[in-house]
Symmetry: C2
Subunit: 158 residues, 2 copies
DNA sequence: ACTTTATTGTTCAAGGTTGAACATTGTAAG
DNA sequence: CTTACAATGTTCAACCTTGAACAATAAAGT
């Protein structure tokens, strides 16, 4: 008679995480919409923001920070380079790596895009007290660490 | 001299949300990895889980729940139907809509996949107290509501 | 009844993402 | 030095996702 013996929705952590995932997806959609006038998509913004922060990254390092494959970066960057947003210079010591930098135009666009993103986040989280925001951020860092472990070492005991 | 006048990373809500997005992305990657043995990807699981929960949904309703386009559903479902996981029956009252149901095999696979997902979430959130999980879920629901408003009514006052 | 407007599902082209195979360059081992 | 191994970036085929255009059906307006 027990038609549904396994109902994940009864599971508190499961329910909470579903909400998290949903919120993320909607934020992504909203960001895509608001970035459209700049002819940018979230992945482009991620790249611009990271190069704004850490000038001189290699493609590999950038890919790792963004959690995407090298090939992704390798196919996206030439577009942005042609658009005059970034610059790639070969590393003098290691001829394999290309170091990435924003152009002046790229930095200007990065700033505009980041302002749009920050404004969107502010609007969406306006009903969430700062204290709770920080608490959420801290918990998420824990979760990231836990998932990091899985990535690296499958099932390392510790 | 103020080289970086606009640093989003100084912004508490921005920082917190970056962590949220990162955690989501890593969870998605981990889920993709763990679902591979079942020859399923997260979007397939989303479909199975939603039909498990709400049998008889139309494709439109399913698309809305999953926050994807109708075309997406329209191209994914035939694959799953050929695989014997779902069934599509025309609605008798409205000849436009197709009502969706899980087959026995689909339900079995849905259960296995949901158990994998629940286990992954449990593992990743094991260091996050239940109380905090619930608080996070509640805040996320607020954020979802805020983003919902933007979607619907652009800038409705109220 | 007739026309207009909306909704549902399908198709298609465009673009994004991935993982594997590859060439090049650096590093360690013998 | 020579050989084996590892890391970086590129290319390619496969797949996924999207948005627009479309045909069929329903609902609303006249």
């Amino acid at each position: 008679m027990n038609k549904k013996q396994f109902l994940p929705w009864d599971h508190p952590r499961f329910r909470s995480w579903v909400s998290v995932a949903r919120a993320c997806q909607m934020m992504q959609s909203a960001l895509t919409r608001e970035l459209a006038p700049l002819d940018l998509k979230p992945p482009h913004l991620d790249i611009l923001a990271n190069l704004y922060r850490h000038a001189g990254l290699s493609q590999q390092e950038l890919a790792r920070k963004l959690l995407v494959g090298r090939s992704n970066i390798s196919m996206t960057l030439p577009q942005m380079e042609r658009r005059g947003l970034i610059e790639r210079r070969g590393d003098s010591r290691d001829k394999r790596v290309l170091r990435l930098f924003l152009t002046a135009e790229g930095e200007a666009l990065a700033l505009r895009a980041m302002q749009i993103q920050t404004a969107l986040i502010d609007r969406s989280l306006s009903r969430t007290p700062l204290e709770d925001c920080s608490a959420i951020g801290a918990q998420m860092e824990r979760i990231i660490a836990a998932l990091q472990m899985e990535d690296d070492g499958g099932a390392e005991s510790g």
